[in-house]
């Protein structure tokens, strides 16, 4: 399962529309969640509408919070999105088997069984989340809180049974030709989330749309060695399964 989590504090102002970019992401099976971070004042009507629209186009959730709630919000959104994605898939299967009916309409016993499956998959499905951080000038005072929230999210992901990985990008990139810069490539190691943004040079523009496209490219590029990766992880899965069998 793949997600993009965009963290921003304002409107995009350069390049393609971020709403279109999010729609592309959704088309490729990647859910886009958006957190607007505001500490003082408001994000503006335009900004908050864009945040909601990006999430809607990307099939995800959006929230506007202050830095103290950031970590908790990111954890909650990530989990909710995993649950929802799985629930949608499971609901589809349920419909196929039982004809009509969503989870809410199932009788208690059946519902309980379906939810057991959803919980199981929520915990074990492999998960990749690309964090896309707005590093325009106004975000600078919030970046320490953002990094802490990322570390916290990594900690929560590490506790999952399924393979979970994070990658971190910030935008705008280092040069004007680069829409977003990769700060940390796919990793499931919490200790790698350290001083991600310390050498950051703030630049004015906010190319949210192009930055999302850049992340999509990274996801695509990564597919090349995904096959090999998957075989490795399947092997691991089998081994772990056997060990689990002994324990139980």
């Amino acid at each position: 399962m793949r997600q993009i989590l965009l963290i921003t504090d304002g409107c995009s102002n350069v390049g393609e529309s971020p709403v279109m970019a999010a729609a592309h992401a959704r088309q490729e099976g990647i859910t886009v969640n958006v957190v607007g971070v505001v500490d003082y004042g408001t994000i503006g009507e335009l900004g908050s509408r864009e945040i909601a629209d990006i999430a809607k186009a990307g099939g995800g959730l959006s929230r506007i919070v202050g830095t103290p709630q950031l970590a908790q919000t990111m954890q909650m959104m990530t989990r909710k999105t995993v649950v929802q994605t799985i629930q949608q898939a499971v609901n589809k299967e349920v419909k196929k088997i039982l004809g009509e009916g969503s989870l809410e309409e199932l009788p208690p016993l059946k519902r309980s069984q379906v939810v057991t499956v959803v919980d199981e998959l929520t915990e074990t499905t492999p998960l990749r989340i690309a964090l896309l951080i707005d590093a325009s000038a106004s975000m600078k005072p919030k970046l320490a809180a953002v990094e802490e929230a990322i570390r916290d999210l990594a900690l929560s992901l590490e506790a999952r049974e399924g393979r979970s990985e994070l990658a971190v990008f910030h935008f705008p990139g280092r040069s004007s030709s680069e829409d977003a810069t990769l700060d940390m490539d796919w990793s499931s190691d919490v200790s790698e989330v350290r001083s991600l943004f310390s050498r950051l040079k703030m630049r004015g523009a906010t190319p949210t749309g192009p930055a999302i496209f850049k992340v999509l490219e990274h996801y695509r590029y990564d597919k090349l060695d995904e096959h090999r990766d998957r075989r490795v992880s399947e092997d691991q899965g089998e081994r772990e399964g056997m060990i689990g069998g002994y324990v139980v």
Partner: protein, 314 residues
């Protein structure tokens, strides 16, 4: 953080089940948990009162019901082995959907009369901690024996009766041992203090329990420690707080729990029982004599001497 939070049902609302048909009358609002709203209800035509939780998300509530169902059957098995007792129904009575409402899912559980742990101790005094702590650890032990961790352990989720019976409420954060902890609260979370993972194990609950004790005994100290920068925030701060507690046996128990040093909740409960619950403090405490008393004593001696002198002289 529910997706939708409807206004609470007014007193007198009849919640009737769509599948099983039982009817419950709302008496008052008891509180709001992460997954829903809890009411005190009376089953129509009966005297017994129950707590009824209405969920705001079918999936989350069902997940909670599933946990309660497995706890229920685990307890049933162990109680069958031991002795038959009525509170089999302590975890879950039934679950259903609110017919006539928006089909909101709900479940019914035993009503625990009392007050949250922090309010109980504030009213009755910290000397109750030995007893209530033991009861709580025993509850955790039962839960762990059934293969679950509680997760979101904090004073607000512990109900204490007038006589110190402790009961865990809100199982929304409970998850099977070995799975990730679903719900947690910053201060009580092992991950927040850089003290370990968020994988649910017995030590996770014991860690939260230790923070709970610190919060009850020195909330200000804990607040200061929690406000540190994330990079410098560490379990050492908590251990320092624990060391500064006047009760040395309690502080060494807490330090061990914070370090994850107990093999499990059974060992932890045994140690608590042995060292903290069983220690009766002598009723008389040795206190330094206050200076005003010394001065007053000196003054009275002087007056006495003067009086004797005065009496003898005339």
């Amino acid at each position: 953080m529910g997706m939708s939070s409807n206004p609470p049902y007014p007193v007198g609302t009849v919640i009737s089940g769509k599948w099983r048909g039982n009817r419950y009358v709302v008496e008052r609002l008891l509180g709001k948990g992460a997954n829903g709203t809890v009411y005190l209800v009376q089953r129509e035509g009966r005297r017994e009162k129950y707590a009824l939780k209405v969920g705001n998300d079918t999936l989350e509530l069902q997940s909670e019901i599933n946990v309660l169902t497995s706890l229920q059957s685990c307890r049933k098995r162990s109680e069958f082995r031991a002795r038959r007792e009525s509170p089999l129904s302590s975890y879950l009575l039934e679950s259903d959907d609110f017919k006539g409402g928006d089909n909101e899912p709900f479940y019914v559980m035993r009503y625990v009369e009392g007050r949250p742990l922090h309010l109980f101790l504030a009213k009755n005094g910290a000397s109750w901690l030995g007893l209530v702590g033991l009861k709580l650890l025993e509850k955790l032990q039962l839960l762990h024996e059934c293969g679950f961790v509680f997760g979101d352990l904090k004073p607000e989720n512990v109900m204490v009766s007038d006589y110190g019976e402790a009961e865990l409420i809100d199982y929304g954060g409970a998850s099977p041992i070995g799975r990730s902890v679903k719900q947690f609260t910053e201060w009580h979370d092992r991950g927040f203090w850089n003290a370990g993972s968020r994988t649910g194990d017995e030590s996770y609950d014991l860690f939260s329990f230790a923070v709970l004790c610190l919060r009850l005994l020195n909330e200000d100290g804990l607040k200061v420690a929690a406000q540190q920068l994330p990079q410098t925030r560490s379990v050492d701060e908590l251990i320092r707080l624990a060391r500064n507690l006047p009760d040395k046996k309690l502080s060494s128990w807490l330090c061990l729990a914070l370090k994850g040093g107990f093999t499990g909740s059974a060992a932890a409960a045994a140690a608590w029982k042995h060292h903290i619950y069983n220690q009766r403090k002598p009723a008389k405490e040795v206190m330094a004599t206050p200076r005003w008393l010394k001065n007053a004593f000196a003054l009275s001696l002087f007056v006495l001497a003067f009086t004797i002198y005065w009496v003898l002289r005339f």
